[in-house]
Symmetry: C2
Subunit: 619 residues, 2 copies
């Protein structure tokens, strides 16, 4: 396999535009707000190891929440040391505490040390290795940015213990963790330290999964829950808890890259297809049931009870971008684009302060009152309708913090002999082949300009968006028809060039496979990469009363009034309310209305409201 790498975020400076706004919002608002809520909820206290003094009981995954937040700070220190000073001080305080609290043998976990020492390495689903993994990732980031290795050394000492307990002695009561993460972290640690043993450890945890008798399934009778159904050499389907699954596949992709293992890549291709052929929401979200937060079976994509955790968006970016490193296929970038503009952005409120855990594709507020008639245990789990600043299980907010902090990582691939632009995000990239500037209004008008004055690689390729029907390109002001192969356009350029790209953005309706029962007879509106939705606040209650014809596009109007993008107005029919429960079908009457659609990611920013992505199709 030809294995490539993305230009790392350290070499990328986002410049003014749609994504820089989101990057800044994360840096300036979200990160501080998560800090506040974590301070209030005792999450930092957990790693201060002060339970005896404060009585604030840590939860067994608090360390991972804090670790992800620290990782975000570490990434942002790179670009804004002054702005991050206060956060850096907190990190140093926490590192002090960890150094002080770490057990003689290297063990480090705030909950197990303070509350449940008798459970150390006893229970597969208590997230010890998951917490360790996130702390390792944070420590690596912190070392890279600050050059200070105290945190890293703490985690290396902990790794020594993990190696002894799991690989040497086999004395833990499980072999692989209930929640994947350590695998990724260990490979990252191997890459950072070049110490072979970390690769060996990662390989152990990856290869033992589904391949040993010791591990008990997380969900009683269900091997899929934490990917115990098959071992990685027989992977075919995306199964079980989605975040755990995608972390596993990312780890396997890393192992494939490090060991040049084509079988692992082929298996991951099957998994990737299994997702994109039947288990992917149009928003790029995954997870069809909230009860086990898991993948289910192809075409089972309910909208109101969609789970589509925000962490899945983060994890999908990890998996798809790793696949791109193993193989130049446009589908990986297509999926990243879908996730970025939809499932990822919807996770955060437009003011940057609050977050969704689940990101549903439909909200019908009426349904939230329906449960009164049945006992509480029997209630359907319906997602919350407004974002919150912190959750009991608050894994998503700091995961979003760290994602946006290294957004630069996903833009451009260095293929050794040239560059390949995967995502159109305004930025200045310092690459081994020269500096590249991307200037985009991609989601706004489907255009991007790529320029350089010192590009030495002679060719550059760009990913053609999935929705692009016709690319109009000009090089240095001259219209040009590039070679197009497998979803990429190839340009021959001089050292200094200005490449203008127009992907021909337009509104279009998408149908789902007829096997997706929830979407039969329905369409979703998109504009380029952006999925649209209707909200009750614009369109009244009971959005399913509305029918839209595919011809409505001819009479659509776009208004550039929605947070940098367009809202869309369309003619539609709305079924009149009717008192009768059943009535002659020829008595249906409609109002001719215009409906307003907004980008899906912006839903639930104007108070509680009904919301609908998949509109009923008239004709």
């Amino acid at each position: 396999m030809k294995i490539v790498d993305f230009i790392p975020f350290e070499s990328v400076t986002l410049t003014d535009g749609f994504w820089k706004d989101r990057f800044d919002l994360n840096k300036n608002v979200s990160l501080s707000n998560v800090r506040k809520r974590f301070e209030e909820s005792g999450r930092f206290d957990a790693l201060r190891f002060n339970y005896a003094a404060t009585g604030k009981k840590p939860h067994f995954f608090y360390d991972s929440d804090v670790a992800k937040w620290m990782e975000a700070v570490a990434y942002l220190l790179e670009q804004d040391p002054a702005g991050m000073r206060e956060h850096e001080n907190l990190c140093e305080e926490l590192i002090d505490c960890m150094e002080h609290a770490q057990r003689e043998d290297g063990y480090l976990n705030s909950e197990h040390q303070q509350i449940d020492p008798h459970l150390i390495f006893k229970n597969r689903d208590r997230h010890e290795l998951y917490c360790a993994g996130h702390l390792i990732e944070a420590a690596i980031a912190y070392h890279k940015t600050t050059g200070r290795d105290r945190f890293l050394k703490i985690m290396e000492r902990y790794c020594d213990l993990i190696e002894r307990v799991f690989l040497v002695e086999g004395s833990a009561e499980f072999m692989t963790p209930g929640h994947e993460e350590i695998e990724l972290a260990l490979i990252k640690l191997y890459r950072h330290t070049k110490k072979e043993k970390y690769l060996t450890m990662a390989r152990f945890f990856l290869e033992m999964r589904g391949n040993n008798e010791k591990d008990k399934p997380i969900y009683e009778d269900n091997l899929f829950g934490s990917q115990d159904d098959v071992d990685i050499r027989h992977l075919e389907h995306a199964n079980g808890h989605c975040v755990r699954a995608l972390y596993l596949y990312s780890g396997v992709a890393d192992l494939a890259a490090e060991t040049d293992d084509a079988l692992l890549f082929e298996n991951l291709e099957k998994v990737f297809s299994d997702i994109t052929n039947g288990k992917l929401y149009i928003t790029g979200g995954v997870g069809s049931t909230p009860t086990t937060e898991s993948f289910t079976v192809p075409y089972d994509l309910p909208n109101r009870t969609a789970y589509t955790e925000s962490c899945c968006a983060v994890a999908m970016m990890m998996f798809a971008s790793r696949m791109r490193k193993l193989s130049k296929q446009a589908k990986y970038g297509h999926l990243c684009e879908r996730v970025l503009y939809n499932a990822m952005l919807s996770s955060t409120s437009l003011d940057g302060k609050s977050f969704f855990y689940e990101n549903p594709l439909e909200i019908a507020l009426e349904e939230y009152g329906r449960e009164v008639a049945v006992p509480r245990r029997q209630h359907t789990r319906l997602p919350i309708t407004q974002r919150l600043e912190v959750f009991h299980c608050s894994c998503c907010p700091p995961n979003i913090n760290r994602f946006f902090a290294h957004l630069g990582d996903y833009i451009c691939v260095d293929e050794g002999d040239s560059l390949c632009i995967e995502q159109y995000i305004s930025a200045k990239l310092d690459t081994p082949h020269g500096s590249i500037i991307i200037d985009e209004e991609f989601a706004r008008n489907g255009k991007a300009r790529i320029t350089s004055t010192d590009y030495v690689a002679k060719t550059i390729s760009i990913r053609l968006p999935e929705w692009c029907k016709k690319l109009t390109a000009s090089l240095n002001g001259e219209h040009i028809t590039p070679a197009i192969r497998d979803g990429y356009a190839y340009f021959t350029v001089d050292e200094s060039f200005v490449l203008d790209l127009d992907f021909g953005i337009s509104l279009f309706f998408v149908s789902a496979n007829p096997c997706v029962r929830e979407n039969v007879g329905r369409m979703a509106l998109l504009r380029g990469p952006v999925v649209y939705c209707m909200e009750g606040v614009d369109n009244g209650k009971r959005l399913n009363r509305i029918e839209v014809s595919i011809d409505a596009l001819q009479d659509a109007t776009e208004s550039p009034d929605f947070h940098g993008l367009y809202s869309v107005s369309l003619p539609a029919l709305r079924l009149k309310e009717n008192q009768a429960l059943y009535f002659d079908a020829s008595d249906n009457t409609y109002d001719f209305v215009r409906i307003k659609c907004i980008p899906y990611f912006a839903f639930a920013n104007r108070g509680e409201s009904d919301m609908l992505v998949w509109m009923r199709r008239h004709k």
Copy 2:
């Protein structure tokens, strides 16, 4: 209130036709088949009180199963003593056993006496009074038909104990039973014996419900479950377990009739409207969730997970016909007709041998494989797709047995000064006003003939079906335009008359209220009283791919080939299968097909198959 009665089934002889076929099927096949399965499963052994000898452990509601079967036998003895001889012998055997086993103090319950004597009158949800009620109803029927009062005396002794324990001493650990039934039975016993104390007992159980501190809710946190949310003087909504609820409302209606209590009637009117305005399936079934077998909230009418227990069809007939006794309104007969031709008939296979417990309005076989990916505890309860001969909870089959055995009870009301035909069922009725013969092809061609040679009441009224747009009537061969008031047509007749009625049957599509989310954009096909469905066996897999236009009726063809009724062929569009998960909506392609629709009640008689009542509407 003017309180009237139906002509009792003892005075009604069904004559050849659609319903006589069903009556005979029940008498000749279903009853014997239920007997076989009950013998095999130890249900009769329960009442033989031979657990010590056989080791066959009775369940705590086995007595009620057997009682309903005995009640059916008692009804049928009236019309076919010779044919019922074998069943009568079994009844006598069981009565011997009960007489022998009944405790000194009158207590009689096979499970509690043999297995759990320590639980006697301790647990509200162990169906002791429910079993007692069914045994009382059986004993009354048996006494009426055979004139032998042994069984009745057993039950009267038991009633003495129940009166002492519940009304006098209050020594039971609950005041009202978890499952209603005793209330109905006691009023029937009062009517049969004229002993006031049974009315007092019935009133006690009815009035204490939702009106005392002693009763604990059946479902932990939910007062609706067994109608503990309000007392009968404040009834407004249909709530909780549907069968229990409808038995309660039937009991309240009986009490209203016996005490001429207008408030109770008004409350029941609210409950009736609550059901018909938002909680009723188009088939006449009720029950929107299988998990608690209960009503939920208006417009919550899921099709695939419809509960619509067969016992609900029986209970709805009980409730609606009782309401008709209290008030001459056509809506009660409309509902009975809807239930009869749909929810009631669907309960039994066309060969009479097997039964549905739940009667769903959609089956998508694919979904039954979907659950593999989630732990068993999290599975959605999907209804079975083929009828069974017996169930663990086999309340429905003997309830259906007894229902068909006294079908004659629902046809004609004696209003004191005239008769009113409520249901068009071919029969000869001996009434105080003379003999009436109904000869119908109601569901086949929308026609009925009513004749008499000795009718002395001068006027006769008939209920106009809800779907009848234009009645064509002729009296003694002469076209006549009757007076029509509140859904009834009134005719002045001589002693001897022939009244021909043509209700103008035709195919029509029905829409559901837009608040019923499952049916938005869908239509159901009806032909007169009969709801139609599509089956996979005729129309292929994934019936939701099919779209039908309301104009399809113009090109419909009817074939008189489906068990005495018509199957219907319609032009339709079928979405072509598509490999992609998402694709441009303008790429949808259709096949022009003809679909075959059959009466809903006949579904699942040709092997496992997809099934759909609510078809997607094209335009």
